[in-house]
């Protein structure tokens, strides 16, 4: 099953097109659109016959090529030279190809540099690889949910009719979590819910935590399989607080702070 390998040959439709242009030794500014379209479609067919899962972008490009080809077949009528029709139908495509080629070149140049941990080494090269310390594993959503279930089960059962009018917002909880991390560096998942009294508050805390993970402000991991789940800041605490503030400013502006929960 070498599907992945095959796909990797072409990073996308633009990459495939550049390859065909090079192979045909033609200029990118003057693409023989009929030939290239034909070869492009043949390449897609080949990829399809190899059972490759073709990205939609490849098909969009096929449609674009066919559209350009058809427009080039139309005689350029007098008087119809308005801004849109007057230009070479290939122009936009050429611009995109050139632009992509620039960054392909730039990427190749970057790759030539003396890369840390490939060509050159420094003390603690792990600094570039911000992964959790060895032996730690990332936590799956299922692990998280079962931990959440344990927390909810720990709640006192008797006060079913609690009527609490406090408003707890996800935003407040996010700040709270960051404050805890600022003081303690690392905290266990269940300890985070230590003083939580209601189911709603647990849910809000959980959402706040997920939001922080989504923003990549914190990281959740397990020190061992089925071990305790721990939480730590993924970036500096101040940076994390900054990210929260940024998110905040936007939500305020848009008036979309739909994360507030009353109960």
């Amino acid at each position: 099953m070498s599907t992945k390998v095959q796909l990797d040959i072409f990073e996308g439709p633009l990459d495939l097109l550049l390859h065909l242009i090079k192979k045909n030794e033609v200029g990118v500014a003057d693409i023989p659109i009929a030939t290239i379209t034909e070869q492009y479609l043949a390449a897609l067919e080949l990829m399809e016959s190899l059972n490759l899962d073709l990205a939609g972008e490849f098909l969009v490009m096929a449609a674009t090529l066919i559209h350009i080809k058809s427009r080039m077949l139309l005689p350029a009528e007098e008087g119809e030279i308005d801004a849109d029709e007057g230009v070479d139908p290939r122009e936009e495509l050429v611009r995109r190809l050139l632009e992509y080629q620039r960054f392909k070149d730039a990427a190749a140049e970057l790759e030539q540099r003396e890369l840390l941990t490939r060509d050159v080494f420094a003390r603690a090269p792990a600094a570039t690889e911000e992964a959790p310390a060895p032996g730690f594993r990332e936590v799956s959503v299922l692990d998280l949910l079962s931990a959440l279930k344990r927390v909810i089960e720990r709640l006192p059962k008797e006060n079913v009719h609690e009527v609490i009018m406090d408003k707890i917002t996800v935003r407040e909880k996010m700040t709270l979590i960051l404050d805890i991390l600022r003081n303690r560096g690392k905290v266990l998942f269940e300890a985070l819910f230590g003083e939580v009294k209601s189911r709603m508050e647990i849910v809000v805390s959980f959402l706040a935590m997920l939001e922080l993970v989504k923003m990549r402000a914190i990281r959740i991991f397990q020190e061992e399989l089925n071990g305790a789940i721990a939480i730590e800041a993924a970036v500096g605490i101040d940076r994390a607080a900054e990210m929260v503030a940024l998110r905040d400013a936007e939500e305020g502006e848009n008036g979309t702070s739909g994360t507030q929960i009353d109960h």
């Binding site: 050159v120 992964a131 990210m243």
Partner: protein
């Protein structure tokens, strides 16, 4: 403080530091020593290590100074460290290049250039701390704007972003023979 002594101290600091040391940090530790003097000593140390063909060299990366092994010794060091060669895929490199040169840039803008979806790649780059969200763009949907991190500079041995290799101008991008567009010829060929 004697110059030789200062050099020795700075070398020790650089040896122990686990990341690039900024001039500011060095000055803080060596309180009282002139920054200019520190810079001079650093330059001297750098030249010495280079000229002596030594096993560590002084590199200026990510706004600081760091001792790094020369490329010529890479294979030996790798043998010591073991582990897999850290190779970067083309998708990763291309996406990183676009973000580096175009920052701050949105996911959609990167996709427009690459012509393919970059969701997975961007997430992986965020995970590796090579890029980060810097703000949100003031357009509908308020998408995140991405930029590179100091870790990016460290990885690619760059002093700062202004040291990125210059991006070629559009006209300079050479694909085999760029002839002027001739729509008429083209359509004649095809009909």
């Amino acid at each position: 403080m004697e110059q030789a002594e200062l050099k020795s101290i700075i070398e020790s600091l650089l040896f122990v530091a686990d990341g690039p040391m900024t001039l500011q940090r060095l000055a803080e530790i060596l309180d009282g020593v002139d920054r200019e003097e520190i810079v001079a000593v650093l330059a001297e140390l750098q030249a010495e290590l280079e000229a002596g063909g030594r096993g560590v060299r002084l590199a200026e990366v990510a706004g600081g100074y760091q001792l790094r092994t020369p490329k010529a010794n890479a294979d030996w060091v790798k043998k010591l460290l073991g582990g897999r060669p850290a190779r970067m895929g083309r998708a990763t490199l291309e996406t990183l290049a676009i973000i580096a040169y175009r920052q701050p840039v949105t996911r959609a803008e990167v996709e427009a250039i690459r012509g393919v979806d970059v969701d997975g790649v961007i997430n992986a780059l965020l995970e590796r701390n090579l890029i980060r969200t810097v703000a949100r763009k003031d357009v509908p949907g308020r998408p995140f704007l991405y930029g590179t991190t100091p870790e990016f500079l460290q990885l690619f041995n760059l002093k700062d972003l202004s040291h990125l290799p210059t991006l070629k101008e559009m006209e300079e991008v050479v694909l085999p023979d760029a002839a002027p567009a001739e729509a008429a010829v083209e359509s004649a060929e095809e009909s």
